[in-house]
């Protein structure tokens, strides 16, 4: 049986997703029995030229947001060659933290895409808005997270790269996956397109903290409170987005005493994560008095930057930042 061809690439982001993919390789099992690395600049030093010699890529794991003309070009080029496009990590899936740039609506100071005296090399131009991969090309599957947990990455690799052939099925990989995806993995067929390798409920479902009563009396910024270690953070007044964020991480942040910031993106049925958070939290305000409610509301700071920490580019219903400009389409490389 012919080996499949794998590509891994990070656009604008950090190396965490790459390292996570590498960790899967380190810790679980090398993927090489089923696939050849066709393109992985970070690890194998692949160059763009190398891609010209590859006619088809079976799976492309694309990490990072689309920020520059080069990113866009990379996305288009990889998509063209790729059968299954997997967005890896929050940046690729929803724009991630780089997406907050849209909120600031500024262009980076270094965006002088011109050449100096004809000798200095040019830079790929930055686009006016940071985009998620899905806003540029068709994406087949998503592994969210910042970075994605290894078990979810591994389940994605199993499902997409070696369906039906993988001998080392690791049970935990499918632990909180939606039923239909885990069924696909075990039966070796491709999951339905558009699937997300993550849970389908919200983080609370797997968070270990005890939920008693949702009644919001006063908001605390995370620095101002040493929360009770066993109890729901939100109930203690710390804005935690676990209630509206897709699960799959297992409540990693809340277990570490840090409130969820939504790196898995919105929960499945949610339209807009910020609106849902606002609705859920304020509905439980312990007051019926307009002035009191207003005062409680004013205790929250930087709503947009917090509620869309990882999702500003793709999941905020109201896109912020400058409108697309004409230069975005393409630029010199």
């Amino acid at each position: 049986m012919a080996k499949k061809k794998l590509a891994v690439f990070t656009a604008t982001g950090c190396s965490a997703c790459e390292n996570s993919v590498l960790d899967v390789h380190f810790q679980i099992s090398p993927v090489t029995p089923w696939a050849d690395i066709a393109f992985w600049p970070y690890v194998t030093g692949s160059q763009w030229q190398d891609l010209d010699h590859v006619d088809r890529i079976d799976l492309c794991m694309f990490a990072g947001a689309v920020r520059t003309a080069a990113d866009r070009k990379a996305a288009l080029k990889l998509r063209e060659k790729t059968r299954i496009m997997l967005a890896v990590g929050a940046c690729s899936a929803f724009g991630g933290m780089p997406g907050l740039v849209n909120l600031a609506a500024v262009r980076d100071e270094g965006n002088s895409a011109g050449a100096d005296e004809g000798i200095d090399p040019a830079l790929p131009g930055t686009e006016s808005r940071v985009s998620a991969l899905s806003q540029i090309v068709d994406v087949d599957y998503v592994v969210p997270g910042c970075p994605p947990p290894k078990n979810l990455l591994w389940s994605a690799i199993q499902a997409l790269l070696c369906p039906g052939e993988c001998t080392s099925r690791i049970s935990y990989a499918a632990s909180r996956l939606p039923e239909r995806i885990s069924q696909c993995i075990t039966s070796g067929i491709l999951p339905p397109k558009g699937g997300t390798f993550a849970g389908e409920k919200a983080v609370c479902a797997s968070c270990s903290r005890v939920k008693e009563e949702k009644k919001f009396r006063s908001a605390f910024r995370p620095y101002a409170i040493d929360p009770d270690p066993g109890r729901c953070l939100l109930e203690q007044g710390v804005l935690c987005q676990g209630i509206a964020t897709r699960e799959g991480c297992g409540g990693l942040c809340t277990a570490a005493g840090a409130p969820c910031r939504g790196c898995f993106g919105k929960a499945e049925a949610v339209y807009d994560p910020g609106a849902k958070m606002v609705s859920a939290v304020t509905s439980t305000f312990d007051s019926a008095n307009a002035d009191e409610i207003e005062a409680m509301s004013n205790e929250f700071v930087d709503l947009a930057g917090t509620l869309y920490r990882y999702t500003m580019a793709a999941q905020c219903a109201l896109p912020v930042g400058p409108a697309k400009d004409e230069n975005d389409a393409g630029d010199v490389l």
């Binding site: 389908e200 409920k201 919200a202 983080v203 609370c204 479902a205 939920k211 008693e212 009563e213 949702k214 009644k215 729901c232 676990g242 209630i243 509206a244 699960e247 929960a267 499945e268 049925a269 949610v270 339209y271 849902k276 958070m277 609705s279 859920a280 509905s283 439980t284």
Partner: protein, 1117 residues
């Protein structure tokens, strides 16, 4: 492929006149993906229209139907029914409102068409997301609440009760019958109104299935059709419906007369009375507006209106007894009280407040002079002992009330004399010793033990009291230590404390006052000290204080009197140091005080150091306040409050030690005499409760106070009597002795003062009737009750009010006694009315010869009155002029009318008779003015038929006032969530086809609450409402809409956000599945949970996010 049928209704020209229905249908049919057929028709709600839909569903196999016409509030059921007849689930139907929201409110045809298209597009886009739903049913609670017991309510109540169902008949007034009970005769048959109503009211009164709740109003309604919960506020009648025999003895002794609302002010009644002899319930009741402001202001809660009223009628003994129910020391109080009652007295808003305090003093002094000792009766003697520490006003008061309750009380007093500050802190010229002693003796005579010279904490302790068998202790130790200034030289010889000086003088110890004395302080005590210093021989007495003259806390009267006696005031100065020579005081240095209080109103004086003053003197008396003896208080082991006071619960006065209570100055800080007395009573009640029940509770529920602002009716009640002036000693005389300054009221003065009372609370609760009542049916302490009634349906029959004719000042209503309203005319004719049925001129009792009726007062007049026609007035005037003619066949009636509206069976004939047989002159035209000329009224108007001005002389003018909504209609509207029109009349479901239903199912309308009606109509509608209720009851169950919240368990995370939000407790959390659980039977479908669910795991059926999103998309596409 889903198939949608779209139908646009023209509604005649209602929609079609503005919206291009054809275009909407055609364009959307072409544009929208799922539209299988798109039609428009003149009347979609008509049978052919509905058939069109049914046929299309059958022939084209439509999956969904969108219908655009009027408000879904109107025809949604019609069309839902139509589609389900054709086999489609009724929830696969969506209705668009392009009439009320579109054609009727837009001017521009293009805009209206555009908007209609948007709305229909939204509905098409939405409807394909609809799901077929099926409802469930719940049973109906077969009880009904009828709100309002006028003829409409009575009719409905009887009919429903006769069918065997329980009826609660809730009536705001004390009797049932409504407006009809006030009428004399009814048109057009001239039946006696009473004769046809009384059988009905008595049937209601004795009907086993009807419970009448008089003086009751609804507060709130929860639940839904079939299962309402109604909360009713029942105000006290004070007279038991069971035991009252209706004998009327009570009425005779009642000292108060107020204008009778039932007789529309044409006569008076006693607060305890019944409106007319055949009233149902045929029992007495008491009119009480609430707690009068004087009583509400009094810390001790003395029934001021009660004793003032009794004093006014010369029943002085009873008056004093009434005082002593709350205030054992009438004479003392009458001298030194700060009189919050007089500040609150509403008579003050007319001329000057009643001289309440002086009257009380008179009553107390009279008792002493006559040696009557009028006390409330003692209860049965009890064995439990209670200790009271301190014999000041608070301690004495506690002892008094505890003794009344039957307890064995011992007072322990540190000083050799009794009375606390009353004895040693208030100079004799204000409160003579013998007055105080008499009132203390009165308390002691009741059996109170006293031990003087006993210091608490030294001679006795809590433990020793426990051992001696005292069950409870009341600490009323007061504040006897002078506060110090803490400035340089305060220890010099000649500097002393003011309170100390007063005490030493009283106790007969040596008091040294030099020639020039400086008193420091601006309060009443400082004034007492300064004026005492004058009496003790100081030549110059200077009073210096931080406050400006206006800010001084001392009484203005005290200051004035001091100035009269030669006192010198230095305001806005603060002492910096005392100057001395050879260890003796020689002067005081002051600096300018610029402000006493800071911006937040706290005591925080600011000074101007550059402005200084020095006063030479040989005596300084510091009177800047007192504090408690820290040594004693600190050693008690009780919890303390800030400022070294003992912490006690403000309601129960309980301290941190069980069985120990504390009040008065020792708990409050410096307070007034009356507060101290009030605490004594409060403590006595608490202690009684503690001993009797072993627990604590807040002492009393207070009655609702009346409005502080003067009402017109009260102004009218004010008798023209001036406030009495207190006779006083001249300043020269009083300066040199401690003789009392005020000489007291005489009996006549007290009586006159009592008559000045406005009776703000109406009934004064003096208790005269209670004493008179044989069967003991009267209970003045009755309180408001709240009844929770569970019913399945509600009939609203709250009736109408009468238009206020004062809105037309030109007609002189309220100015000329002979200008009356037509309802007043009814009372004049009525045999049980103020004139026993004689139609006479209210001004002089003569029979009128010429009577002018003015029509449309307040009706059909958008400028000043109401736009609508009040419907009954034409016939009322025709009837009244006929009655007038029967009374006085020689008399002449004139009617100024606009149009005569006599639609009704026999109405026009009746009017013709009035014109032809009674010879009434009907003049078409408005009246411009009614004025008096030579003792007769002249009505000037125009005759619009003859085209000229006309003047008619009249002995009596009757205004045909229109009907308006009840003034408090908003309360009912709010409680029931019932819509009203702009005039305050309740809106029926449909003006033609749903005249008694409302938009809220299970709530029905009857009578004029819906709009002006005459008696036959009201009765008919009462019957119709009863029919609706009975229909509901006979079906026995109501369909619950399936539009409830649905949980998607796959998505629910069990975060508990929704759990606390549900107002119906329909959501709970399952510990087993760790998910939310929705109880569909309790869910009302409000969707709050769905909006809040952070995982979007909850959606309300038929209002799901995808449906709403689709609608938004469709509208904005």
């Amino acid at each position: 492929m889903k198939k949608v049928g779209v139908y646009i209704c023209h509604c005649g020209t209602n929609i079609g006149g503005k919206v291009d229905c054809a275009r909407v249908a055609e364009e959307l049919g072409a544009e929208m993906e799922h539209v299988a057929v798109s039609r428009h028709y003149k009347y979609m709600c008509s049978e052919p229209g509905q058939k069109m839909i049914r046929d299309d569903i059958a022939e084209l196999g439509l999956d969904y139907v969108v219908e655009a016409s009027c408000s879904p509030k109107m025809h949604e059921p019609t069309f839902r029914n139509a589609v389900s007849q054709a086999g489609m689930n009724q929830y696969n139907f969506e209705m668009v409102n392009i009439r009320e929201h579109c054609s009727w409110v837009l001017e521009d045809e293009e805009a209206a068409t555009h908007k209609a298209k948007d709305l229909v597009r939204g509905a098409i886009s939405r409807v394909v997301h609809h799901q077929p739903l099926k409802g469930s049913t719940t049973s109906v609670n077969p009880k009904v609440l009828v709100l309002g017991a006028g003829i409409a309510g009575i009719t409905a109540a009887i009919k429903i009760a006769n069918a065997g169902y329980q009826v609660y008949l809730v009536e705001r007034e004390e009797i049932i019958g409504g407006k009809m009970a006030q009428f004399d005769k009814t048109f057009p048959t001239l039946d006696c109104s009473g004769c046809i109503l009384t059988p009905k009211t008595s049937e209601v009164g004795r009907h086993p299935n009807i419970e009448i709740l008089t003086k009751s109003e609804i507060m709130e309604v929860t639940g839904f059709v079939g299962n309402f919960n109604v909360r009713v506020l029942q105000k006290p009648r004070y007279v038991s419906l069971e035991t009252c025999t209706g004998c009327g003895d009570c009425e005779e002794v009642c000292p108060i007369d107020v204008s009778s609302p039932f007789e529309l002010g044409m006569t008076t009644r006693h607060p305890i009375s019944r409106p007319f002899p055949q009233a149902i319930p045929n029992k007495y009741s008491i009119m009480r507006a609430g707690m009068p402001p004087c009583q509400a202001a009094c810390p001790a809660g003395v029934n001021v209106q009660g004793y003032m009223t009794l004093a006014g009628v010369g029943r002085f003994d009873q008056a004093l007894t009434l005082i002593r129910e709350r205030m054992p020391f009438a004479s003392v109080c009458g001298r030194i009280c700060v009189r919050p009652c007089e500040d609150a007295c509403k008579r003050g808003q007319i001329d000057a407040p009643s001289a309440i305090c002086y009257t009380k003093r008179f009553l107390g002094d009279r008792d002493r002079e006559l040696g009557l000792e009028q006390n409330p009766p003692l209860k049965e003697r009890r064995e439990e002992k209670v200790a009271v520490i301190g014999s000041g006003p608070s301690g004495l008061s506690a002892a008094y009330f505890l003794t009344l309750e039957g307890y064995q009380v011992t007072i322990f007093e540190k000083l050799p004399v009794m009375g606390g500050m009353l004895a040693v802190g208030i100079p004799d010229y204000r409160l003579p010793r013998d007055v105080l002693d008499h009132e203390i003796r009165n308390v002691l005579n009741m059996g109170v033990q006293v031990k003087t010279g006993v210091t608490f904490g030294k001679d006795i302790t809590f433990d020793s009291l426990d051992q001696d068998g005292f069950k409870a202790v009341y600490l009323a130790t007061g504040l006897h230590v002078n506060r110090r200034l803490n400035v340089e030289g305060e220890d010099l010889d000649g500097v002393g404390g003011g309170v100390e000086m007063l005490r030493n003088y009283t106790l007969g110890e040596e008091v040294k006052i030099g020639k020039t004395a400086v008193v420091i302080g601006g309060g009443n005590v400082a004034l007492d000290v300064a004026r005492s210093a004058i009496r003790l021989g100081a030549e110059t007495v200077v009073l210096a204080c931080l406050e400006s003259r206006e800010e001084m806390p001392a009484w203005e009267r005290e200051i004035e009197e001091g100035l009269e006696e030669g006192l010198i005031l230095h305001n806005s100065w603060g002492p910096t140091r005392f100057l001395g020579e050879n260890g003796k005081i020689s002067g005081v240095e002051f600096k300018r005080c610029t402000s006493v209080f800071d911006e937040s109103g706290r005591f925080n004086p600011a000074y101007d150091e550059s402005e200084c003053m020095e006063l030479k003197c040989d005596t300084v008396l510091v009177a800047i306040g007192q504090s408690s003896d820290g040594d004693i208080i600190g050693g008690l082991g009780l919890e303390l409050a800030p400022g070294g006071r003992i912490a006690a619960d403000p309601d129960t006065l309980a301290t941190s030690r069980p069985g120990v209570f504390c009040g008065g100055d020792g708990m409050l800080g410096p307070a007034t005499f009356v507060q101290a007395v009030s605490h004594g009573r409060q403590a006595a009640l608490s202690i009684h409760h503690y001993i009797e029940h072993g627990g604590l509770r807040p002492v009393e529920m207070k009655e609702r106070p009346v409005d502080k602002d003067l009402k017109e009716s009260e102004r009218v009640r004010a008798k023209p009597v001036e406030r009495g002036r207190m006779p006083m000693l001249a300043p020269e005389e009083r300066k040199h002795s401690f003789d009392a300054i005020e000489l007291g009221f005489t009996e006549e003065m007290a009586k006159a003062e009592g008559q000045r009372c406005l009776s703000c609370g109406i009934c004064c609760q003096c208790g005269e009737c209670v004493r008179k009542c044989g069967p003991q049916a009267i209970d003045l302490s009755e309180k408001e009750k709240i009844r929770d009634l569970d019913v399945g349906a509600i009939v609203v029959a709250t009736g109408v009010d009468i238009f206020d004719a004062k809105q037309y000042p030109e007609y002189g209503f309220g100015k000329y006694p002979d200008v009356i309203t037509n309802l007043q005319f009814e009372r004049l004719c009525n045999a049980s009315g103020p004139t026993s049925g004689r139609v006479v001129r209210p001004s002089n009792g003569e029979v009128p010869q010429s009577v002018v009726f003015i029509q449309c007062v307040g009706s059909r007049d958008p400028a000043k009155g109401k736009e609508y026609c009040s419907k009954v007035c034409c016939m009322v005037s025709a009837k009244q002029l006929s009655i007038f003619k029967h009374h006085n066949p020689d008399g002449q009636a004139y009617v100024f009318y606009i149009d005569n509206r006599t639609g009704g069976k026999g109405y026009e004939e009746f009017l013709r008779r009035a014109i032809e047989e009674e010879n009434a002159q009907y003049i078409r035209g408005r009246v411009a003015k009614v004025f008096e000329e030579g003792g007769r009224l002249v009505v000037r108007g125009e005759n619009s038929l003859a085209g000229g001005p006309v003047e008619v002389e009249a002995d009596l003018v009757v205004l045909a006032t229109g009907l308006t909504a009840q003034q408090d209609y908003m309360n009912v509207s709010r409680a029931l969530n019932l819509a009203t029109d702009k005039n305050g009349f309740f809106i029926e479901l449909h003006p033609k086809l749903g005249p008694v239903e409302t938009s809220l199912s299970g709530i029905y309308l009857a009578g004029a609450a819906q709009g002006p009606k005459d008696i036959p109509e009201s009765v008919a509608q009462g019957g119709a409402a009863a029919g609706e209720v009975l229909t509901l009851f006979s079906i026995g169950q109501v369909e619950i809409e399936p539009t409830t919240a649905q949980l998607n368990e796959r998505l629910c995370t069990g975060c508990k956000t929704c759990e606390g939000l549900c107002a119906y407790d329909a959501i709970s959390f399952s510990e087993q599945t760790k998910l939310a659980v929705i109880n569909a039977a309790l869910c009302q479908g409000c969707g709050t949970c769905a909006a809040a669910c952070p995982a979007a795991a909850i959606a309300v059926a038929h209002y799901t996010p995808d449906q709403i999103f689709a609608q938004i998309e469709g509208i904005l596409a």
